[in-house]
């Protein structure tokens, strides 16, 4: 985008990375540098800031190609460990979605349901190299006569296995509380009645899109850490909403930006990607993502230097308001308050707990820092994702 001020170019940064002379720090380390040396010096000194996040990310899944069978089959229904994958793509291509639950799962018939196995778990089992049973059906054609196929395979038997997640790495996210009178089981975890506890799901200061709040350096072609392997941003994510509410610094104060990402499952590691069961809600996938942010200008040094105390998230009632679609912000809190373990709300001190793993996020940021130091260059966005007008108030 022409409006982005580039004081240190991608080429300059990538040259340094190739030579091994780039200065790379994590988004946990950057605030200390900005605090002690100021934004200008931090910009001059640091070339890349690495970020990380690890949490439950719905809108995830994988394209799988099982290779042609003998005789050939043109699949119309595919089950992987009894979890249905969408087969309406091509003869032996399918898409396994993270939230698809196993056939005959009792769901929420006895509430809260356990949702012990689903698409996210199939993805984990494949990445772990475990055996997965494929069952496929078809109506048979002249060129694809086979009508039924069954085989136990591992990921090595698949011709291709690409993770393709249409919406990941939410820039910011709601913080949840329950104002109703009963215990509820939500995708934001178990929430006790009468505001008995608060849950949140963000890596805060480490989170990729919070470190580049106007998406200056993130777009189609950005190279990322995805589930332990090299991946890429392919597009804006579904529900991407750059016009969300921002504070006086320009930092987003609600969900806002999202990205679509892809990567090769054969290169991934279950340390950074896991199937998830959310009691009473359903199945999903825990995804680990890290994005390197090139420090092209002083504003990026400023944003990457912000801490959990500078980033706010809205507290939303998941007992009554959210299910009804009447979302009202009860209070805005900083991630620093949430991370302390207690939030002051309506004169009460309410225990707060995370749902996304900060230790894993930090490990991802540090692993990515190692990659960049070893020559992992910055992918220049070929198509920017839609942003928002920026005016510097500092």
């Amino acid at each position: 985008m022409s409006s982005i001020e580039i004081k240190k170019s991608y080429e300059e940064i990538n040259d340094k990375i190739k030579k091994g002379t780039a200065v790379v720090v994590t988004a946990a380390e950057m605030p200390g540098i900005v605090k002690s040396e100021g934004v200008k010096k931090a910009f001059e000194k640091v070339d890349v800031v690495t970020t990380g996040t690890f949490g439950i990310m719905c809108s995830s899944g994988a394209f799988l190609n099982m290779g042609h069978t003998k005789p050939r089959i043109r699949t119309t229904k595919v089950l992987l460990n009894d979890v249905e994958a969408y087969a309406g793509i091509a003869a032996v291509d399918c898409y396994i979605g993270a939230t698809q639950v196993k056939e005959d799962d009792p769901l929420n018939k006895i509430h809260p349901g356990a949702f012990s196995y689903g698409g996210g778990h199939v993805i984990e089992d494949l990445i772990a190299g475990r055996h997965v049973k494929i069952k496929a059906k078809s109506y048979g054609t002249d060129c694809y006569p086979l009508k039924e196929y069954e085989k136990t395979i591992t990921i090595n038997d698949l011709r291709n296995a690409f993770l393709y997640n249409p919406r990941n790495s939410y820039q910011n996210y709601n913080t949840a509380v329950n104002c109703s009178k009963k215990m509820i089981y939500t995708y934001m975890g178990i929430l006790k009645p009468d505001m008995g506890n608060i849950t949140y799901s963000s890596a805060g200061q480490l989170s990729p899109l919070l470190n580049d709040p106007y998406y200056w350096t993130i777009g189609t072609g950005t190279k990322i850490f995805l589930g332990g392997a090299v991946g890429a941003v392919t597009w804006q994510g579904t529900q991407h909403s750059p016009g969300g509410k921002r504070d006086e610094n320009g930092m987003v104060m609600e969900g806002s930006g999202t990205i679509a990402v892809t990567g090769d499952m054969k290169e991934m590691n279950t340390e950074f990607i896991r199937g998830a069961s959310i009691t009473g809600y359903g199945c999903s996938l825990m995804v680990g993502i890290g994005i390197p942010i090139p420090i092209l200008n002083e504003d990026l040094a400023y944003f990457t230097g912000l801490t959990d105390s500078d980033i706010k998230t809205p507290i939303i009632d998941y007992g009554i308001d959210y299910p009804n679609g009447d979302v009202r912000v009860i209070k805005e809190v900083t991630f620093a308050e949430l991370k302390s373990g207690n939030v002051s709300l309506n004169g009460r001190s309410i225990p707060s707990s995370p749902l996304s793993s900060y230790p894993k996020a930090l490990k991802i940021a540090n692993t990515l820092k190692g990659w960049v130091e070893q020559g992992f260059t910055i992918g220049i966005p070929q198509i920017q994702i839609p942003g928002a007008p920026f005016s510097r108030n500092r």
Partner: protein, 140 residues
């Protein structure tokens, strides 16, 4: 001094005997009732935190057995699979006794099995099935 959390199961034959009273009187045990469920004329279940010397605790546990009380040490009932745990923190929202809590420096989830009362809520909250074992509420 040492503390241990135990689940005591009193079958109907002994459920109206004053056994808990004796552990304070005869063995000088400091006890704290953490949870109790009584099913009249069927069974009683009680979770106690016991504090005393090693010898006092040994004698008390032996005494329970001679009276026909079934004893389960709660620290052994719920286990965490360290390979599966991703330290997300979901379990810390529901743990009743802070046996699962977050180290605020590292944000890692610590499991102090000695404090666990085997309520089983962590098993419901954990998205990656890292917690396993018998939970008293769900067994009844």
């Amino acid at each position: 001094m040492k503390s241990v959390n135990v689940l005591l199961i009193f079958r109907k034959e002994i459920m109206y005997k004053p056994i808990i009273y004796r552990i304070a009187k005869d063995f000088d045990i400091v006890f704290n009732v953490l949870e109790a469920k009584i099913f009249p004329k069927q069974e009683g279940r009680i979770i106690l935190g016991l504090t005393g010397s090693d010898m006092q605790l040994d004698e008390t546990l032996n005494y329970f057995k001679t009276e026909g009380v079934e004893v389960q040490i709660l620290a052994d009932m719920i286990k965490r699979d360290e390979q599966k745990c991703v330290h997300c923190g979901a379990c810390t929202a529901v743990c009743r006794v802070d046996a699962l809590y977050i180290n605020r420096e590292t944000m890692e989830v610590i499991f102090d099995a000695e404090k666990c009362v085997a309520c089983g809520l962590c098993r419901l909250a954990c998205p990656v099935n890292a917690m396993s074992g018998t939970a008293i509420d769900r067994e009844i």
